[in-house]
């Protein structure tokens, strides 16, 4: 077993236990230990990250990735769904930062606007519409937390290990098997070009025009569908609102 595989296996085991401890289980005991374990697992994972071109890039990436992942763990471990939503918003911001860092400026903005700005707020509205009095049991307990945590983390471990191993593979000539055909110059005129949004727009409304139309139709259908689902027939509207 190689070095990286060992690290990932260890991180997986620790992460699984940590996440299990963090998940709502009816008691709040052990959350601190869970947090520590998850932090160690994340650290182990971070130690296998590859170095980027300079320390500034490294620093920015680690901060953004850290925020994203920590917020994600918080999203699934907090009891109160409103807090979950807020942590999810933070995770989204981290993701947007990562998009920006990878040069996808338009996506970063779109994610913030559409996800954090629109979708998440809608979630919060619904949460507020459907708030139980007191702490609901379904927020305080989980369904099979052990199996869930184990499955999920094993999945992460397997994926990470595979990604790491595949990218590290070397051919007979000593060159990496996975190698980009494009040079930095190509990228500077492509995905990293200065007129980024113009290029994205040209791509979106050029090659992907039909898909855009289809997506538009889908949005319309969803709009109509949502309206139909929520609209109550007249007779039902007279009933008193469902109590808790």
């Amino acid at each position: 077993m190689s070095d990286s595989q060992l690290t990932f296996t260890l991180a997986t085991l620790l992460g699984a236990v940590g996440v299990w401890l963090l998940l709502p289980r009816g008691t709040a005991r052990g959350w601190a230990a869970g947090a520590v374990l998850v932090a160690i697992a994340l650290g182990l994972g971070a130690s296998r990250m590859l170095r980027l071109e300079d320390w500034v890039a490294d620093g920015v990436f680690f901060i953004l990735a850290g925020v994203t992942v920590v917020a994600a763990v918080a999203t699934i471990s907090f009891r109160d769904p409103v807090l979950c939503a807020i942590w999810f918003g933070l995770s989204l911001l981290g993701t947007a930062g990562l998009f920006l860092f990878a040069g996808a400026q338009f996506l970063a903005v779109a994610t913030v606007v559409v996800y954090a700005g629109a979708i998440l707020v809608t979630f919060l509205f619904v949460l507020m519409l459907a708030r139980p009095k007191g702490r609901a049991t379904w927020n305080r307990s989980s369904w099979e937390p052990v199996v869930s945590a184990a499955t999920g983390i094993v999945m992460v471990g397997v994926l990470s290990m595979t990604i790491s191993d595949v990218l590290a593979l070397r051919g007979e000539t000593g060159r990496p098997i996975v190698e980009a055909a494009e040079t930095a110059g190509d990228r500077a005129e492509g995905v990293l070009a200065d007129q980024h949004v113009a290029l994205v727009g040209a791509e979106l409304f050029g090659r992907n025009l039909v898909a855009v139309e289809v997506a538009g139709t889908l949005l319309l259908a969803a709009l109509v569908g949502a309206a139909v689902i929520v609209a109550r027939p007249r007779s039902e509207a007279q009933e008193p609102p469902a109590a808790d």
Partner: protein
């Protein structure tokens, strides 16, 4: 297209069109007018058949005027299309290339076919017209008139195809029509059972027929009647008929590329090409088994009396005049094969003679008018086979006589059946001769025409039956005489001769017994008849009258002019014998003709006397005091003879005991096995998924998260497998 080809196609095609038309339109559109397509189509077919007879006649004259024909008999074969073909299906011998199996749809015109076609279509036409009156208030009117042309189509095809496979196909097709029409009133359990019985008994015969065809194929490598010229490319390419009318078209360059048909010119000219011995006997006996089934000969005769459950026109058409003669036709067609085996011919003659006598004895005591006629049909068919069995290489007289009897019998038996139908129609469906009597004033036309039929059947001069029956008896007597060197065979033929004479006596007796019981004595009308008891409508009496004239005329006309015999002897299977005979007579001088003429007169006189005696006895018993009959019955019953005849020699019971019961036992055993073993196995197989399902059921717990988890676990397993590989 030349005339003969057009005619050959038209004759079956018109009834087929009629059957389709009536089947499609009959129920909704034509209704009470359903008979029109049928009558028109069969009428046109009949006209076409008569034209065909004249065309064939002309062809023969032309051949004769052109000098000695290179061909044995007259035949013309037209190929329509190739139905099926398999290349290299049969390796005839190692020295020859493998032969292909081809079924060409070929029709033939020769005197035998022409005679059969004319007879079938004429009788069918008359019966169809008769049915208009007879079936007029039946709810299945249109159904009846879509079956009848279907039968005519099948029957005309049966007699005009030139290939054993097609012969078999239409052999089955007429059987199907027979089944459909016997069970026409399928609501009646007896009719349904009778249809089933006919079908099953015919299966036995057809099984033998099929085996015979297989044996023919392995022996001769072809199932065509006629010779076929193979194209230069060898097997599989389009075949043309070699012998075309009177010429023999043989390619001088490639004389070898001719495949001799089983009954083709090549083999007819050189009889040595036919295999002899055990194989020939086996083929012939198997074919004869088929003929026994279809033509109701012992031991497969039991279905025909029951078949009388069908409508009377059907009995007249299918079970008296046409379909049941298919066996006779087939044996006549295959005579060259039968000639290769003396044993087979003797078996044919013996079966025929025995059946004739047996059926005549049974008919004596039956009380159902139609059944009497049915047994008489079996008996007369036996006569025909007796005639066919009395054929030698040197004399086709027996076969000609058999075919002649077939021809005349069709008219007078159809007449008798239609007369019986007329009586039945008037009596409100009652057919038991004990329940009515003295109908001669009530139904004068039926009475007179029935009398003509009875005279013809009994064989009284100058009615049709006399001439043909006489010829058969003469041929059998001739056969007995000519086997002077072989005492055993001679004894057989003498016995058959005596059986024939005895049958003639019995025939006359039972025919007139039925006649007297029906039309003489005090007038008795059953209750069922109500006020219906009157003469039948014109659509029924006109066909009766035409048939009566035919029954009076056809025998004398054709016999005295020798037209029938001369015409038929040009049919290839009979022409072969005529050719052999001519050669033999040229060598031996004229020794036999004088004897033949003499014996012929003797036979005529004897048989006439015997028939007259039969009629006289019937008159004595049934026109006189009924006590006389009762006394005689009691005397005979003491010896069990009466009961034996009344019980139809208990064939049904014997078959039931030795065939049906054991089969039922086997069937119930199989049923038990099926229930206890097979069903259990199947149930077990069915239980397995149930058990597995029960074991897996907890997985379906309705929790979407569980389903998602299961999905991811599956994905993980997949990933793990991929990564470890």
């Amino acid at each position: 297209m030349d005339t003969i080809k057009t005619l050959l196609i038209l004759i079956p095609a018109l009834p087929l069109a009629a059957t389709l038309l009536t089947a499609v339109l009959g129920k909704r559109v034509l209704r009470r007018q359903s008979h029109w397509p049928t009558v028109l189509a069969i009428g046109l077919s009949c006209a076409a058949s008569l034209v065909l007879v004249f065309q064939v006649q002309q062809g023969i004259h032309k051949a004769e005027s052109e000098g000695p024909s290179p061909q044995v008999g007259y035949e013309k074969v037209v190929t329509l299309w190739t139905w099926a073909g398999v290349d290299g299906a049969y390796a005839y011998s190692t020295s020859e290339p493998a032969r292909g199996f081809r079924i060409d749809v070929t029709l033939r015109a020769d005197p035998l076919t022409a005679v059969m076609l004319a007879m079938v279509t004429l009788v069918s036409l008359l019966v169809a017209v008769y049915s208009i009156g007879y079936m007029h208030d039946d709810p299945g009117y249109w159904r009846f008139f879509s079956y009848i042309p279907l039968f005519v189509f099948s029957m005309t095809m049966l007699v005009s195809v030139s290939n054993f496979v097609l012969l078999y196909v239409f052999w089955e097709a007429v059987g199907l029509c027979s089944y459909l029409l016997i069970g026409f009133w399928f609501q009646k359990p007896a009719a349904a059972a009778a249809g089933k019985k006919a079908f099953l008994v015919n299966r036995i015969g057809d099984f033998g027929f099929a085996l015979g065809l297989f044996l023919l194929w392995t022996t001769y490598g072809t199932l065509d009647f006629h010779d076929v010229k193979l194209a230069a490319g060898g097997e599989g390419t389009a075949a043309t008929v070699v012998h075309h009318e009177t010429e023999i078209v043989e390619d001088a360059d490639q004389p070898g590329l001719v495949r001799a048909g089983v009954l083709g010119q090549t083999m007819l000219r050189d009889r040595a090409l036919y295999v002899t011995g055990g194989v020939a006997t086996a083929i012939c006996l198997l074919l004869m088994l088929g003929a026994c089934g279809k033509s109701a000969q012992f031991p497969l005769h039991v279905w025909l009396p029951d078949a009388m459950e069908g409508p009377t026109p059907v009995s007249a058409l299918i079970h008296a005049a046409t379909m049941v003669t298919a066996g006779v036709y087939m044996v006549t067609r295959c005579l060259p094969l039968f000639l290769a085996s003396e044993v087979a011919l003797q078996v044919v003659a013996a079966i025929g003679g025995f059946t004739a006598l047996l059926a005549a004895l049974t008919a004596l005591t039956q009380t159902d008018l139609k059944r009497i006629l049915a047994y008489s049909t079996i008996s007369q068919l036996g006569y025909m086979f007796l005639g066919l069995g009395a054929v030698t290489l040197l004399s086709a007289a027996g076969a000609v006589a058999g075919m002649f009897h077939l021809f005349t019998h069709a008219f007078f038996k159809a007449l008798l059946f239609l007369g019986a139908g007329s009586v039945m129609h008037a009596m409100g469906g009652v057919i038991d001769v004990r329940r009515f009597g003295g109908l001669r004033r009530l139904m004068p036309t039926t009475h007179w025409t029935f009398l003509f039929g009875c005279l013809a059947l009994a064989g009284i001069v100058p009615f049709a039956g006399f001439w043909s029956k006489d010829l058969i008896l003469a041929a059998v007597g001739e056969q007995a005489y000519s086997h002077a060197l072989d005492p055993q065979t001679q004894r057989l033929y003498y016995l058959l001769y005596i059986a024939g004479l005895l049958t003639a006596f019995l025939t006359a007796f039972y025919t007139f017994r039925a006649f007297f019981l029906t039309f003489y004595g005090e007038e008795r009308i059953p209750r069922e008849a109500g006020h219906h008891a009157h003469e039948s409508p014109r659509s029924m009496t006109v066909p009766l009258a035409i048939l009566a004239v035919c029954a009076l005329v056809v025998g004398a006309y054709f016999e005295l002019t020798h037209g029938f015999a001369h015409f038929l002897e040009q049919a290839p299977p009979l022409a072969m014998i005529a050719a052999e005979q001519a050669t033999a007579e040229a060598g031996a001088g004229l020794g036999q003709s004088a004897h033949q003429a003499l014996s012929h007169w003797w036979v005529a006189v004897i048989s006439s006397l015997i028939a007259a005696a039969g009629i006289a006895l019937a008159a004595l018993l049934y026109l006189g005091h009924p006590q006389r009959v009762e006394r005689l019955t009691r005397t005979l019953d003491a010896g069990g003879l009466y009961r034996l005849s009344r019980g139809k020699f208990f064939f049904d019971e014997i078959y039931d005991l030795f065939v049906v019961r054991p089969l039922q036992a086997v069937a119930s055993l199989s049923f038990l096995f099926d229930r206890t073993v097979i069903d259990r196995l199947v149930d077990g197989c069915g239980l397995m998924p149930k058990r597995i399902g029960a074991a897996l059921r907890p997985l379906q717990n309705g929790m979407i998260q569980f389903y998602a988890l299961a999905m991811v676990l599956g994905l993980l397993v997949l990933l793990g497998t991929l990564l470890t590989m």
